[in-house]
């Protein structure tokens, strides 16, 4: 979908008034993967808002990335309960498996690995979100397996 059409669709779905900006950005983020400067400019123009306003809003929220991210965002919970359940081992296993460090994206643009604050599953840590899917009681092996399964699925799809 072109940027302009995608923005138009999101605005039609959410509504055009100021209070719908978050919803518009959320839809586009999930459709197009990231909120590039070109996209934010288009949103500003179509909603009649200033670019600074739209950019300022998007950059406030950690789930509304304005820099390129992978098709799958892996977010490992870094809060203390998951930390105590050894989330570092899970992160290191994924770093080694994906050949990236936390904060980076794989060369093929498939995965971005980050740490995030409390995911609200503290009794079944360590946990991670992969896009909108939650995975609990991880081990280094089970986390890698989840990623491998996605890779296989993606391979089949293409």
């Amino acid at each position: 979908m072109s940027i302009s059409l995608s923005v138009k669709t999101a605005i039609e779905e959410s509504g055009n008034s100021r209070e719908n900006l978050m919803s518009v950005l959320q839809i586009i983020r999930s459709d197009l993967g990231t909120l590039s400067p070109a996209i934010l400019t288009e949103v500003a123009d179509q909603m009649g808002l200033s670019r600074a306003d739209v950019y300022g809003t998007a950059t406030f929220y950690s789930f509304l990335e304005t820099t390129p991210v992978g098709k799958y965002s892996i977010r490992i919970c870094r809060s203390i309960s998951c930390d105590m359940k050894n989330k570092n081992a899970v992160r290191e296993a994924l770093e080694n498996h994906l050949f990236i460090k936390k904060g980076e994206t794989t060369k093929d643009g498939m995965f971005t690995l980050t740490e995030t604050n409390c995911l609200g599953h503290c009794h079944e840590g360590p946990v991670m979100l992969v896009n909108d899917e939650i995975h609990t009681e991880l081990t280094p092996d089970s986390a890698v397996k989840i990623i491998e399964e996605i890779r296989i699925r993606e391979g089949v799809d293409e």
Binding site: E19, I80, C122
Partner: protein
């Protein structure tokens, strides 16, 4: 043995997750006059379960008296406090009770529109919740002029603060507003708005069902009723438990500890750390340490330096940056304990930091910056050696 005891304690309360026909409950509740509902809530002494503990009856009274062409009811499902996971469970297991609570509020204050502000981290719940909402909106059509929708967050802890939440609902950066005016007079889009925690709304519904006296008979004089606790950390039985308010920490640790508990963090990163020697004298409730429900246990294998560092890192990341004491203060605290640990600064630097937290407490604009000193001072006071060496 302990499990049985806990089960018994839970059975005694059993309000939040009990089975109940929400539509029937609502039908009965809507027959009650708003004034009477406010009176019932006052008698029940229900205080908000989101952390701040404001009297629900008073909040609703202010909103019902406020002038506005439109009024709003908002369920705060932002649940970002580290160690808290009960609102997710409530929305998952008994969503209709939350919706019933919102409808009772709408009836009481005269609102026609309601929102659930669901944190982005819980996006995976949105679809099924939306379905429940659609059914609910449809069913209450003939009873009440009230419609509920969902608004999603996008990963910002501070948006749990009610005025930041409203800013975010308006599609803006989640920066807390100055108070007053409070949301009950000027909230969403400038109209009177009640923001309540998910759990609070369910208790309202249960008070309408079982009566105010029943609720008030639970707990203690100053902390009436019950509360849902999210228990995690070094415990053999992590999970969600609905218990009476006002338990002391020694009793809590006896039930949930692993036999080696050295400290409990009550109320998450913005709460207080209680060391073992103070368990017996510490009450979980408004007369002691109030909590949104987060209870994290630490045993003697844990470094309290790591715990504090984790919290401070969290605050550095989540501070909205609007005011200097919080923005700079959080960073100074984190850098400060790092420097002391690495011997770049003397241990006496901790006193300098502690003095600075007084400024944070007084001069920060919202509860985030104001509560950073809680965990900092309680951990540094009780576990100074662990921070230094």
């Amino acid at each position: 043995m302990t499990r049985e005891r806990i089960s018994k304690m839970q059975e005694k309360v059993n309000l939040i997750f009990s089975e109940c026909d929400s539509m029937e409950l609502l039908e009965q509740a809507l027959k009650v006059e708003p004034q009477q509902i406010l009176k019932m809530l006052l008698t029940s002494s229900l205080r908000g379960r989101g952390g701040a503990g404001f009297l629900t009856s008073l909040k609703w009274k202010f909103a019902s008296e406020a002038d506005g062409n439109r009024k709003f009811v908002v369920a705060n499902a932002d649940e970002g406090e580290p160690g808290t996971f009960k609102d997710r469970e409530i929305l998952d297991k008994v969503p209709c009770k939350v919706l019933a609570g919102m409808a009772i509020c709408a009836h009481t204050i005269g609102a026609r529109e309601g929102y659930i502000y669901l944190r982005g981290e819980y996006n995976y719940m949105k679809k099924s919740l939306q379905q429940k909402l659609d059914e609910f909106n449809d069913k209450i059509k003939n009873m009440l002029d009230f419609t509920i929708s969902i608004k999603s967050g996008s990963g910002a802890y501070v948006c749990g603060e009610e005025t930041a939440l409203i800013e975010s609902m308006e599609g803006k950066r989640g920066e807390p507003r100055n108070k007053p005016p409070y949301p009950v007079t000027e909230g969403y889009l400038g109209f009177p708005t009640v923001v309540n925690n998910v759990e609070t709304l369910v208790y309202v519904a249960m008070i309408m069902k079982h009566g105010a006296a029943h609720f008030a008979s639970l707990g203690t004089e100053k902390s009436k009723g019950a509360k849902v606790f999210s228990v995690s950390g070094d415990t053999p039985i992590p999970g969600i438990y609905e218990l009476e308010m006002g338990m002391n920490l020694a009793e809590f640790v006896e039930l949930f500890g692993d036999g080696d508990t050295k400290a409990v963090q009550v109320g998450g990163a913005s709460g207080f750390c209680v060391p073992r020697r103070k368990f017996a004298e510490t009450i979980i409730g408004f007369e002691g340490i109030p909590t949104g429900g987060s209870m994290m246990l630490f045993n003697s294998s844990r470094s309290m330096y790591n715990v504090l560092h984790n919290y401070l890192e969290f605050f550095c990341e989540e501070s909205c940056g609007q005011c200097t004491p919080c923005r700079v203060g959080c960073q100074q605290l984190r850098n400060g304990i790092e420097a002391v640990k690495q011997r770049k600064l003397p241990p006496s630097h901790l006193d300098v930091l502690s003095k600075m937290t007084r400024t944070m407490k007084i001069a920060s604009k919202c509860g985030l910056g104001q509560s950073v000193p809680n965990s900092f001072n309680s951990i540094v006071t009780s576990f100074k050696e662990e921070i230094i060496y």
